[in-house]
């Protein structure tokens, strides 16, 4: 297991956008992400997420899939259209294997995120972002 402190040092320079329609999840996940990343923005659906990305061009986008107004996968596609190198992490409740068309750099984790899963996610982000 990679040292979390080490990962934190590595990731501290990156910015992240977290998109979820549930306020309590945005709050707790946002708080968690702040421990690792330089800056964390949150959005409550695909539309506001896309808007935020347009403004800040975050290094990493972590998003829920099923959301009102615009789903995470649609938003991811649009972000990739803007920036083909965009790095997107899908957080989904579904355990099914899903392909996300039009997204180059991405992976998927399944909710709810246990400490083990969340560590793996952070580690994988650190690996892929280099």
């Amino acid at each position: 297991m990679t040292d979390l402190v080490e990962l934190r040092t590595k990731l501290k320079k990156y910015s992240v956008l977290f998109v979820d329609d549930e306020e309590s999840i945005r709050f707790s996940t946002g708080r968690f992400l702040k421990k690792f990343f330089n800056s964390v923005d949150v959005a409550d659906n695909g539309e506001t997420g896309l808007q935020s990305y347009k403004n800040h061009t975050h290094d990493i986008v972590i998003t829920d899939i099923l959301m009102p107004k615009m789903n995470g996968d649609i938003m991811a596609k649009k972000i990739t259209e803007l920036n083909p190198d965009a790095f997107i992490v899908f957080v989904t409740a579904s355990r099914d294997h899903e392909e996300y068309d039009g997204v180059a750099k991405s992976f998927k984790v399944t909710k709810p995120l246990s400490f083990e899963v969340v560590q793996e996610m952070i580690e994988k982000i650190a690996q892929m972002i280099e």
Binding site: L4, V5, R8, E22, S24, I25, F27, S28, T29, R31, F32, K35, L66, P68, N71, A93, K111, P112, L113, S114, F115, V118
Partner: protein
């Protein structure tokens, strides 16, 4: 059953036979008795003749013979002593009992149907010689001294007659004439033979017999007809019993079938409920797990501080409460109460929306409602909710399958003036194929690919509505989807 019937019918047949036999033999006995009575009457008639003759003879014997004036061509009796005398130019001839009897009998035999004759085995007058019957009778009476009469019923060569002989014993008065024959007092000396033509007697007998035969036939036919009627009645009642039994069995089977279906649809509803709970729980579980992750990360970074720890723990506590109340809500919603409750219909609607909200949101389905009445209804709440829930689930499934965006379900509630409420559940999920629209309320009919779907949902919805809620359900296709319309009678709608 067949064997039992056969035994029953056999018993019935034998019973009828014995009944008919008993009645007819009783009747035969009665006939016999009638015949006997008729015979007795004939015998009594003969005895009466005989006694009257004997009385006349006794009178004659008492006066030791009487003298009659000689008229016609009668001559004094050569067998008698002092057989005549002449007085004032007239001849008086002695007539003894035997001769008197003969004379009376001759007059009688000319005039009456009853003929009689004096006879003896040892007659003084050869005219009184016995015929074969008389000879037989007199010989019998000679041997059986204690008997007074001998008679027989003849039926020879189509002539039917009754022949009778009464015994004449030798009395003291007789000896004045008969001593010469060597008789002693008490000896049998002869008899009176009485011949009664008995056509009427035989006619009566024949009539009786004919009647009796008819009567027997009648008894047999009536009893057998009765037996047949009884057999038919028994047969019909057994058929009916059998039919009733079959019917009851079928009803029980149907009820069992309905029970099984109800159980299966409850299980399906339970599955729906579990899936809805899963959706409801996703958010609180995610929040809890992130709260835990925050605490664990702080420990890793050695940056744990009281304030953040408290915040995280308070958040966990809050979400645990959400989890627990969700379970309570579902439990309450699905708890079968089996009795009617008073409840505001909009409370049911709101509850329903709250329970389905997350799972609908998850599939990007917008649920809207328009309730134009706030009725306090009296109904089986759990079953009513189950019906609505199933229709929402159905709409949801159709939307997921047939539509990718702008999915919606719209529920409306209207009140009619005649204590009816109309609930419409409409979606834009593509509607129902016109070819199967007539079949969707039938049991075990399903278009869903899920192998756990038994195709009972809409059937149970209809059954529950019809049987428990005094309601009906209809479906029609709209522009983009289907519209289910429930019409329900309610006791009252107090707003």
């Amino acid at each position: 059953m067949q064997r039992k019937n056969l035994i029953l019918y056999l018993a019935l047949f034998l019973g009828a036979f014995f009944a008919a036999f008993t009645i007819s033999s009783l009747h035969d006995k009665h006939l016999q008795h009638e015949k006997e009575t008729l015979r007795e009457k004939l015998i009594d008639e003969a005895k009466a003749y005989f006694r009257s003759i004997v009385s006349t003879r006794s009178w004659n014997a008492h006066y030791k013979g009487v003298y009659i004036e000689k008229i016609d061509n009668i001559e004094p009796n050569e067998y008698l002593q002092e057989n005549h005398f002449i007085h004032e130019d007239k001849t008086y001839i002695k007539v003894n009992p035997a001769w008197m009897t003969r004379m009376i009998s001759e007059i009688n035999n000319q005039k009456n149907h009853v003929k009689y004759k004096i006879t003896s085995l040892n007659p003084l007058n050869p005219k009184n010689k016995p015929d074969s019957f008389e000879q037989e009778a007199l010989s019998y009476l000679e041997k059986h001294t204690d008997e007074e009469f001998y008679y027989t019923f003849f039926d020879k060569n189509n002539t039917k007659s009754f022949k009778f002989i009464g015994k004449l014993s030798t009395e003291r008065s007789c000896l004045q004439c008969h001593q010469i024959n060597g008789y002693n007092e008490g000896d049998i000396r002869g008899g009176i033979s009485i011949n009664i033509p008995n056509d009427s007697y035989y006619e009566s007998i024949e009539n009786l017999e004919k009647h009796s035969k008819k009567y027997n036939w009648f008894v047999y036919i009536v009893i057998y007809l009765l037996a047949i009627v009884v057999a038919i009645v028994v047969h019909i009642s057994q058929e009916r019993k059998e039919l009733n039994k079959k019917l009851t069995q079928q009803i029980q089977e149907n009820e069992l079938q309905t029970d099984i279906m109800l159980t299966q649809s409850r299980q399906a509803a339970m599955g729906d409920m579990v899936s809805m709970i899963a959706h409801q729980w996703r958010q609180p579980l995610s929040t809890i797990s992130m709260d835990v992750n925050n605490v664990l990360a702080d420990i890793e970074f050695k940056s744990l501080n009281d304030n953040e720890l408290r915040e995280n723990l308070e958040s966990i506590s809050k979400e645990v409460y959400v989890l627990s109340s969700t379970i309570e809500e579902f439990k309450e919603f699905f708890h079968p109460k089996n009795e009617k409750e008073h409840i505001h219909i909009n409370i049911i609607m709101e509850e329903l929306i709250r329970l389905t909200e997350k799972s609908l949101q998850y599939h990007n389905i917008t649920l809207t409602k328009k309730v134009d009445a706030t009725c306090l209804i009296h109904t089986y709440v759990q079953e009513f909710s189950q019906v609505l829930l199933h229709l929402i689930q159905n709409a949801k499934d159709a939307l997921i399958k047939h539509r990718s965006d702008n999915r919606w379900i719209h529920i409306t509630l209207d009140k009619k003036p005649n204590n009816e409420i109309i609930i419409a559940i409409e979606d834009n999920g593509g509607g129902i194929d016109e070819n199967i629209v007539d079949k969707i309320f039938e049991p075990y009919f399903s278009t869903k690919e899920d192998k756990n779907d038994k195709g009972l949902g809409l059937y149970m919805v209809k059954t529950i509505l019809n049987k428990h809620l005094h309601g009906t359900i209809n479906v029609s296709n709209t522009k983009d989807g289907a519209k289910f319309i429930i019409t329900m009678k309610i006791e009252s709608c107090d707003e």
